[in-house]
Symmetry: C2
Subunit: 402 residues, 2 copies
């Protein structure tokens, strides 16, 4: 029995997202690509911008000695400098290359940060719903996620956070735009979070690190902007990637940025670099560090996502499914409709049963339970317009038969 | 104080290899590239073979939709199939794509395997000396490395391993060719290890997983061959990368291969895939999965390493430094010479002091203590012929002044 008991248990109860993605591959082989409506995975269907593709070709043509070799664990100085420029612009405060650690995607950055920060038994406050992998990431490093339900509009619930915080709280982890709700925190939300952290520090003496997971920062609708966290709370770190905004999730390229105003900025950065090394990432992939250093600010057109958001919204409304109006990212977080069929009466609010039901209509979504949001399901609309229009009848029939 | 106490302590006592590498960058800036003799890091100085470079250009020219997107966590089916072919050939037993998990380098593969296998308090037997990062990798997942000194010729000491094994032993981790000693285990060594594991199983009822870390498999001298482990012990996993044989360490591309004869092959593979996901690797970098699938068997010329091994051996012999004759990899593991200077009398066998002393002569090596091999130092000869010839006088002077 070589697999550890803990891992077996985690696997048994694990991510519906990936299960659905792999189920989708199977179903598409069976029924044909066009006859499966796969809204399971946040795998951008837009291609990377032309400037990124050009950077890929230019990097391949470079042929510089040692360009596939090791570099310092924190990444190439030029890549770190480029990211520092980006973060300075986004956060409105000057950030140096020394504050940046290049990473194996946002997941790699977040794991490195949690490894650097968490002591055994430490707690990570996360407004719920949230990306289900966070639970594993905290547990990897001896920590524990403490979900704190958000307000009905999915903004952070400060009194609930304050009630959940204690001496073991090491991290407050936020994700704006939020996966799965699409919520973007307002500047007031960020200020309120900072005030809560300050009050907590005064009460307990413990400084909580605010970690902002921001892979969807660029993908926002209706002129909404993602509020910066660096000016609000000095002990803060941003983790992000180019998976979503530049459609490069498979390339595993991202970074962690440490607030230069942190009292412990150098130590914290060193800790993240060290964690990057000992967790076996070693460094962010060399090739895509070069690609991203020359193309991170490629103009990208997210209007297709806006159009699909509209299209899927219309399909769902017509089918009688209600959902949270997303301000960013590319997910619709939908309420499980009330069952109409007598046989389904006891399935009211049962998101897993509803996802299984949708699968019979060849629609793949993810139960909200996996995001600490039971009673909801998540539909990723980073899919083709055909998938959305093709799903119209299937959704209508599925809701009728539910 | 946001950095965890445990991480601070690890950082303080941590890898001399990386410290030396970064010290080397600093010293080269100060004294000029040609005046620093940097033997610190196993960063291959040979360029990737032309066929690999061509695969990089071809992959960049592909422009297939979704080619930078997510794929299943285990990797692209075609990349897994290519690796299965490679492993079948090397191990002499048929291996399927389903037995392969593509990884973020060998370090990513090893961490995923240890995450899948280790329960809290489990022990990992490792013949010493060994690559110092193993200690962190085991600790990352609640395990503990138990170093077991090898025999004087650096082959595994079976009675010592048997004495160190107990009910908590979950893994036996071997590395042939060995970093830092250059030892290649003979088929008899592998058979003896398997017999020990069988006896241990009969005694304790616990099946120990044999993990073979093989990034140096191709880099061998004098017709030596790396013995396969799959035919010898069914509960075995190979972890490796293309960092050393194809000079791609910065690209973080490798794989884990599970022995198809394992009683738990499917479960173990699933566990490694799951660990790959939750450790935040998510998947091996997409671009280099494609590169490697088309160029893993690129002919590579290691004769420069053989020549450098000869050249550095001669430099050291002339300086009066003795070392283990390496059968593979690109390291010379050298005994700290006896001090000649009265002032150094109490530094006999002090590898850290000797490395500090070498630094005064602008020679960078790594103390053996970091490899659980005190009294020795490691010199990596994956460096230019000029560095080796340039170091001749420095070594002679350093030994004279020691």
């Amino acid at each position: 029995m070589p697999v550890a008991e803990q891992i077996k248990q985690s696997m048994a109860s694990s991510s519906f997202i990936r299960k659905m993605f792999e189920e989708g591959i199977r179903m598409k082989a069976l029924y044909g690509e066009d006859n499966v409506y796969d809204f399971s995975l946040g795998n951008p269907d837009l291609e990377p911008p032309e400037q990124v593709k050009a950077a890929v070709r230019e990097t391949a043509a470079l042929d510089e000695p040692g360009m596939h070799g090791y570099m310092p664990n924190a990444g190439y100085p030029f890549a770190r400098a480029a990211m520092a420029g980006k973060v300075s612009r986004e956060q409105g405060v000057p950030v140096e290359a020394g504050n940046i650690v290049m990473s194996v995607g946002a997941a790699g950055a977040l794991n490195a940060v949690l490894k650097a920060v968490l002591s055994p038994g430490d707690e990570v406050l996360v407004p719920a719903p949230f990306f289900s992998e966070y639970t594993h990431y905290a547990a990897n490093h001896g920590g524990r996620v403490v979900p704190v339900p958000a307000k009905p509009d999915f903004s952070p619930d400060i009194p609930a956070l304050a009630a959940a915080a204690n001496e073991k709280t090491a991290v407050l982890l936020i994700n704006s735009p939020n996966n799965p709700s699409g919520k973007v925190y307002s500047p007031e939300d960020i200020r309120a979070l900072a005030a809560f952290l300050q009050a907590h520090k005064e009460k307990t003496g413990r400084t909580v690190v605010l970690v902002a997971d921001e892979p969807y920062r660029e993908i926002v609708y209706g002129g909404v902007q993602v509020a910066p966290v660096f000016p609000a709370w000095s002990e803060s770190v941003i983790v992000t990637s180019f998976a979503k905004n530049l459609s490069l999730p498979g390339e595993r390229i991202g970074y962690a940025a440490v607030n230069p105003a942190s009292e412990n900025a150098a130590e914290l950065t060193d800790g993240i670099v060290f964690a990057t090394r000992i967790l076996g990432y070693v460094n962010a992939p060399a090739f895509f560090q070069r690609v991203i250093a020359r193309s991170w600010n490629a103009p990208a057109d997210y209007t297709p996502y806006a159009a699909r958001r509209q299209a899927l919204s219309a399909v769902l409304r017509d089918a009688g499914i209600s959902f949270a109006e997303p301000e960013g990212a590319f997910y619709l977080f939908c309420r499980v409709p009330e069952p109409k069929q007598a046989a389904h009466r006891d399935l009211s609010g049962n998101d897993k049963a509803f996802c299984d039901h949708l699968k019979e209509f060849r629609i793949l979504g993810v139960p909200g339970s996996g995001f600490c949001g039971p009673g909801w399901i998540r539909l990723a609309y980073c899919v083709s317009a055909q998938t959305i229009s093709g799903s119209r009848q299937a959704f209508a029939e599925a809701v009728k038969a539910w």
